[in-house]
């Protein structure tokens, strides 16, 4: 009953429609960065090729972390639909922790590369790698901040249609970032090992 009310509200929510359009524009920014990466992937300026720098196990761990976090985030949204604030907060907190873990691994990877002399200023290939993956990481950071804001909202405000819409947008954003990561994993880490 209450679930159904919220669901129909979300379907016709104007802000969610606009947010999808925004996500498409963000996707195009990523597309341009992907295109640049693909063009520049061999421009190592005499340095090591991607296959000798990237470590697939690390990338795989990051992928699994994000995938699980998408699941926990969806569970959080489900709890919101069922008006179970406590459960929602727990699921979102879990998602947050997984997100932090992802960032930790990524920052470590960046630091390691820079330490080895493979920083973004070394070659066009590394510039495009750091930028593409770094832009995704920045989006993850924004997503985590947003998650904290929404957890605050759940704790101290009512779950009105307006607020549920805001939480929903944060959740879609998080799923979107997971979606982009799949492409990063395939193109940046996977493809460079093969082609």
């Amino acid at each position: 009953m209450m679930e159904k009310e919220l669901d129909t509200e979300l379907k016709s929510d104007a802000k969610i429609f606009g947010f999808w359009i925004y996500l498409m524009t963000d996707l195009i920014v990523f597309a341009a960065l992907f295109a640049s990466f693909i063009v520049l992937r061999k421009s190592t300026f005499g340095g090591l090729p991607a296959s000798e720098i990237f470590e697939l196990p690390l990338a795989l761990s990051e992928t699994i972390i994000l995938l699980v976090s998408s699941f926990t985030c969806a569970m959080g949204m489900l709890a919101i639909h069922q008006r179970q604030k406590k459960a929602a907060l727990l699921w979102f907190a879990l998602t947050f922790v997984l997100g932090i873990a992802f960032l930790f691994l990524e920052i470590n990877e960046f630091a390691k590369f820079i330490h080895e002399g493979n920083g973004p200023g070394r070659s066009a290939f590394l510039s495009s790698f750091f930028t593409l993956v770094g832009t995704h990481g920045t989006h993850i950071t924004v997503g985590l901040l947003w998650m904290v804001v929404e957890m605050f909202r759940i704790s101290y405000r009512t779950l009105s249609a307006q607020n549920v819409s805001r939480i929903f947008r944060m959740v879609i954003f998080w799923h979107f970032l997971d979606f982009v990561w799949i492409f990063i994993f395939t193109t940046v880490y996977g493809m460079t090992h093969l082609i």
Binding site: A31, S43, A124, T131
Partner: protein, 650 residues
């Protein structure tokens, strides 16, 4: 310590050249005048509460138009300097140094494209689209305000170099790499360009999202997509181009900035950087951008020609499809901007041929406009003059474009003044004439009184004649081997007489602009005489003419039901409604202003490498956004009784 506080900023950055001192003093005087007037007439509160914090698209539209007008005069100063320099510059007799001249045409391009043309069109769209679709407001009123203020922040940043920095970019309006890279351009000029574009680009993107959502979701009942006015259709096409192309601009200028700030190597000449990739990415945005500039104008012309021929537009469906096809094809032609980069005959031909194919729907548009006038009763009001003048220049400009679409022909005219003349014919003939047509057409609706027709017509003729005198020599100069962006040339080339004729044309155009200023002054003076009492001064056909001039904040007391194309024409003689209901409207908010101030500070900090300022700017804008998201009471209710009072008063 000093480096931490000030970044790259030194005393050297303060104005010490004639033009930076001049620009600073001029801007200071303008602000001082505004402050004095506002204080004298005690209008600070009015300014803040009625205008700056407004979420009403009619008010935001007016602010866009005023802002664009300021930027127009700013850009015209650049034009005057360019024409004067080139008329004098035979054998080095010009008065501007090469570097400075290069900065002038760079800022001219960026200001005219991003702030003038787009500013005016966002203004018109804000004014008119809600009215034409029978809505009260855009889908996202706060984002509307934020988008405007971000554009203003960008406009401030592009002029900030007068006060701090002393140098703008000297790379041409698109900051082509590697000229714009750190190696060839270590100063701050290019950074000012990048970040003013990023800020205003973000504003444009938000506006694009807003208008698409509005047009898709907020049309009045009965207004199907195929009953929308053509201005709404072509604006929708333009907005679709914005949301798909501007992200590419964001990405490529971001990469250029990374090259400059973090010494990365996307577009540098060594370390694997790829100059050709910059060309591809920037023009992948750049070509849709020029269609963003002209598509809304096409819609405007359709309505103006239809209204002043007193006849329905010739084949509405064809016009819609022609606009959609132009939108789609505009994504497939970007390489025609650099045929000379050596992509090979197959690739070059593909892009050349697709460019030529765009001429087909464009031709259909022109034929239908002429057919609309056929067997109509043409009234030569000022907006109609601009529209007919547009068709003539569009034919010429379009022809020269298709001509250049042939790659080998382009090899001889690329980057020559022929190219300059072509795109100015398009931008001036389509977009700028569109701005003037739109202003004269919709001014009575928004301001409540009509503009003086006589001076309007004089202004048109001065512009039309002036345009030809100014740009025809440039076509010839292109064939004489004159490349663009030259600050000096040898007298033996024989180019100087042509530059002088062009300068004369510019003087005629300036007379046209002065006449337009005179027109505004005279119209304001005579406003009580020219009051528009009916709301429909031109015997219009679309819904905006169904309201009073100016319309009330809520546009329509009751949202109309639409029965066909030219919605107003069909309901013109029906009875006025007497039943009123409560209307929900968005409250004003200052958040757009605050966020944009923080964005400006962040942009300034990025240009000068003042790290703490960057952090402050980012944290500030984010904090504002978060704070605003907790504001759950954004709307207010206008009770039915109040609506009744307002409606009966007319």
């Amino acid at each position: 310590m000093k480096k931490f506080i000030f970044g790259k900023l030194t005393l050297d950055a303060l104005p010490h050249q004639w033009f930076t001192i001049g620009g600073t003093v001029f801007m200071f005087l303008m602000v001082l005048t505004a402050v004095i007037i506002l204080t004298k007439y005690k209008r600070w509160s009015w300014l803040w509460h009625d205008w700056l914090t407004s979420t009403d698209p009619k008010k935001i539209g007016t602010m866009y138009v005023i802002f664009a007008t300021f930027m127009f005069f700013r850009g015209m100063i650049d034009v005057a300097l360019i024409w004067l320099q080139q008329a004098l510059a035979a054998d080095g007799e010009g008065f501007l140094e090469a570097g400075h001249f290069q900065e002038i045409f760079t800022s001219h391009g960026d200001i005219m494209v991003f702030f003038v043309t787009m500013g005016y069109f966002f203004g018109f769209m804000n004014w008119i689209i809600p009215l034409q679709i029978g809505a009260r407001d855009l889908s996202y009123p706060f984002l509307n305000s934020l988008g405007f203020w971000l554009t203003v922040a960008g406009g401030l940043l592009i002029n900030a170099f007068f006060i701090i920095g002393g140098h703008f970019a000297n790379t041409g309006w698109l900051a082509i790499a590697p000229l714009s890279s750190l190696e060839f351009n270590p100063g701050v000029g290019v950074d000012y360009l990048i970040w003013s574009l990023q800020l205003s680009g973000l504003g444009s993107l938000l506006a694009g999202i807003n208008f698409i959502a509005t047009i898709i979701k907020k049309r009045a009942p009965g207004m199907t997509l195929m009953r929308m006015p053509l201005f709404v259709w072509t604006s929708l096409c333009g907005m679709v181009l914005i949301i798909s192309a501007f992200p590419v601009l964001t990405a490529v200028t971001f990469m250029l900035w990374l090259d400059r700030f973090f010494e990365m190597h996307f577009f540098t000449v060594s370390h694997g950087g790829n100059q050709m990739m910059y060309f591809n990415l920037i023009w992948m945005w750049g070509h849709p951008e020029v269609y963003i500039l002209v598509l809304p104008a096409f819609g405007m012309y359709s309505e103006i020609i239809s209204t002043f021929s007193q006849k329905q537009i010739s084949n509405y469906t064809s016009m819609v499809w022609a606009s959609i096809i132009i939108t789609g094809l505009s994504y497939l032609v970007w390489l025609h901007h650099f045929f000379t980069m050596g992509a090979g005959p197959e690739v070059n031909s593909f892009f050349g041929i697709v460019t030529m194919i765009i001429a087909i729907p464009s031709g259909v548009l022109v034929f239908n406009w002429i057919q609309t006038m056929l067997k109509g009763k043409i009234v030569f009001a000022t907006p109609m003059c601009w529209s007919i003048g547009f068709i003539i220049i569009f034919l010429l400009g379009g022809m020269t474009g298709v001509f250049m679409a042939s790659p080998p022909a382009d090899f001889q005219v690329h980057n020559s003044l022929f190219l300059i003349a072509h795109f100015h014919a398009q931008i001036i003939g389509i977009a700028l004439f569109g701005v003037f047509a739109g202003l004269t057409y919709w001014f009575p609706k928004i301001m409540g009184f009509t503009l003086d027709e006589k001076s309007g017509k004089v202004a048109f003729w001065l512009w039309f004649v002036g345009f030809y005198v100014a740009f025809t020599p440039l076509f010839i100069l292109g064939f004489m081997g004159a490349t663009r962006r030259l600050d000096t040339y040898r007298a033996e080339t024989g180019w100087q007489p042509f530059f002088i004729i062009a300068l004369f044309g510019f003087l005629i155009i300036s007379a046209g602009i002065i006449t337009q200023v005179y027109q505004i002054i005279v119209s304001i003076r005579d406003r009580k005489l020219n009051r528009d009492t009916t709301g429909d001064p031109w015997n219009g056909r679309t819904l905006e003419w169904a309201t009073t001039s100016p319309p009330p904040a809520y546009n329509f007391a009751k949202i109309p039901t639409v029965e066909g194309i030219d919605a107003f024409w069909l309901i013109k003689n029906k009875q006025r409604l007497r039943e009123y209901e409560d209307i929900e409207l968005p409250k004003n908010t200052g958040m757009g202003v605050y966020i944009s101030i923080f964005a400006f500070l962040a942009g300034f900090g990025i240009v000068w490498h003042i790290h703490w300022l960057i952090v402050l700017g980012i944290i500030g804008s984010v904090a504002c956004l978060i704070r605003f998201s907790f504001d759950e009471h954004r709307d207010y209710i206008l009770p039915a009784a109040k609506v009744a009072l307002l409606e009966e008063a007319q």
